[in-house]
Symmetry: C2
Subunit: 367 residues, 2 copies
DNA sequence: AGCTGCTAATAATGCGCATCATCAGATTGA
DNA sequence: TCAATCTGATGATGCGCATTATTAGCAGCT
């Protein structure tokens, strides 16, 4: 039959001390000036060993304030059925950080995904409260919901840059601008002049940043920006040929593999005739195993950094700090502005899809 | 500024009722003969809506209620860094089920993965208590830990068949035996006689079940069982050629792709000269895109079914039911034995790696 | 003896919630 | 008219723990 759990009180009884003493021994630190003699300490530890006592986490949390649980809210299904999982690398990083922090991760799956996106409905958002704080992943966030989070001072961190709200939203993002700039630099160093940008217009942050990087870099090199924005991959390939581009930078969602196929079909080989640089992670690995040149997004690190940041925000807002602050109002905020908005470098990927333009002087090969 | 959590007491104050009343309204059922008028009920619900109240799961658990949180414990890292994610499909199914049940999923990431496997240490296993129940994934479970779970009557469900404990462990598994038998049947129907089994010996359940299926099916057809168990893929291929097998069944962890390569190198083509059937999910997609013949493991469904089962166990074992049972000892267990051990069918995959044996009469092609 | 200072421990409190025992008031029955 | 019943709600309690406030005991000093 269900054995009753061993509690601190049981341990205390066996050791001939009070429950409080057991708690002190277990926590080591004694906030007030409480002291425990080495002898008593050993008696308690022995009793713990004999009884096999283990703390009840629910009670610990109730008493302590923090649950040691951090939430993860994804605006789309976390584990999508069809496509390659987008969240996977982030979660890997998050899991790793969670281990190090000793916290558990709560996935908010109770809010249903409707229409491909998960809404932070009243019920859904209320459940956020079960975690000490929350990570937010995905593009399709909802303004009103965010406002609510800000208003209630609920600790959260976005994964992915959020430029829209005047710096009020904490995030850990990737440097798409810088990454894109470096790709252009690379091409120019190889001797390329006619460099096109292939990608659909969009208002999402990565797209805006890629375009910004492209514009800035081209301008800095005194080159003309040329955008190719076509629904059809075949048409895009045709346009590239028509415009006699020697290189293009492509957003990963623009089917680079198919694009390369179409180019080959038109007698242009990659990278011999046209260099193709990918501005971010490819959605699928290449058929022939050779990698795309371009830059990669440090998704695992983003996940980990975001969780660390969240953890800091939480403990700053936590009950202990709360009390400390009441006593000493001058205490500065522990989390600095710089920490609140982190942009991580996107490392270059050497890859196999970049080469000097056809007919370039041999010297241009070695930048 | 300080964001104190909204509690039932706050809600009660706003609605002009007692905390107990709020609790009753929230829980719907009223264990004792307590009644709440519709009007009061609405006032409370309004106050909840306005304040955005959320129950504190720790307190709920401590007080003996349900937190609507189900845990997922994986014996290996949930999101592995390098290899293809093994847990992915399971989690997809789990997430889907969680949505339908309206529960959140707690990943027990606080227990660190040491040596490739996560231990349900003293501390770790404590933390299970936050969730109402828990799903267990992975091969490397630890006996003592499981015993502890059983002793304390904590609700849990294994994903993957567990034959070892005399039917005391609830699980949702896959029918490797039946799947393997059907593969042999398939081959025999095609006219194959010399059918080898390629795979390393092991004590894990899938391996035991594959071997059992192979043995039973070969025996039923009056054929001789032949095992190939070699570390080296090349040696395995050589053995297959030597033994003049016309077909082999292979466990997915035995590098079937490399095996096929080695066979080709020795002048045996798949499937023209040797049919190869895979006993489970391939670890990697095939290079040429054509699928392995064999059977697949319904991992998503396993995840979903396991979560549903766990949900049932939880509500059966919940504090409410507990008390009901005390009053009426004759009440039958709500979860039947059959539900406790579910074996799901592994659907055949047609694939492109099976054919009649070379030199077989044409009629044998159409079973 | 009276006081201070120090060590070692305990009693008491509250975290937020579910639940049991109880109670006030309204309605009914005889 | 007064007890019996029913309705609608409240107060009190405890879950197991962390933490604060308090006490008991004792040595050293004046």
């Amino acid at each position: 039959m269900p054995r009753r759990r061993i509690t601190q009180t049981d341990v205390a009884a066996m050791a001939g001390v009070s429950q409080a003493t057991v708690s002190f021994v277990l926590n080591g630190s004694t906030p007030a000036g409480v002291r425990i003699s080495e002898e008593t300490r050993q008696r308690v530890l022995d009793a713990i060993r004999i009884t096999g006592y283990t703390a009840n986490p629910a009670a610990q949390r109730l008493a302590g304030g923090l649950a040691q649980i951090l939430g993860v809210f994804t605006y789309e299904a976390t584990f999508p059925r069809a496509s390659r999982d987008f969240y996977g690398p982030f979660l890997t990083g998050i899991e790793h950080a969670a281990e190090r922090l000793g916290v558990d991760i709560l996935l908010f799956t109770s809010a249903p995904v409707a229409d491909g996106r998960r809404r932070l409905t009243r019920d859904g958002w209320q459940r956020l409260g079960v975690a000490d704080g929350c990570l937010l992943l995905g593009q399709h966030e909802h303004r009103g919901e965010l406002q609510h989070l800000l208003d209630t001072n609920y600790p959260f961190v976005f994964i992915g840059k959020r430029g829209s709200d005047g710096g009020r939203l904490p995030y850990v993002g990737a440097d798409y601008v810088g990454g894109t700039v470096r790709q252009i630099d690379r091409l120019v160093a190889h001797g390329h002049q006619r460099i096109g940008y292939v990608g659909m217009r969009g208002t999402d942050q990565p797209t805006l940043d890629r375009v910004e990087g492209y514009r800035d870099a081209m301008k800095a090199h005194g080159l003309t920006t040329r955008f190719v924005e076509l629904e059809d991959v075949a048409a895009t390939a045709a346009e590239i040929v028509d415009q006699r581009f020697t290189a293009v930078v492509v957003a990963p969602e623009n089917h680079p593999e198919e694009l390369a196929d179409e180019l080959e079909r038109r007698g242009r080989r990659v990278p011999d005739d046209v260099s193709v640089l990918l501005l971010g992670q490819p959605h699928h690995p290449r058929r022939d195993g050779r990698q795309w040149s371009g830059f990669s997004v440090p998704r695992e690190e983003m996940g980990a950094r975001a969780l660390y940041l969240l953890s800091r925000l939480v403990s700053d807002d936590g009950p202990r700090r709360e009390r400390e602050r009441e006593r000493d109002a001058r205490r500065p905020a522990a989390v600095t502005e710089a920490e609140l908005h982190q942009i991580l470098v996107c490392p270059d990927v050497e890859g196999a899809t970049v080469a000097p333009p056809a007919g370039a002087p041999p010297g241009a090969d070695a930048p």
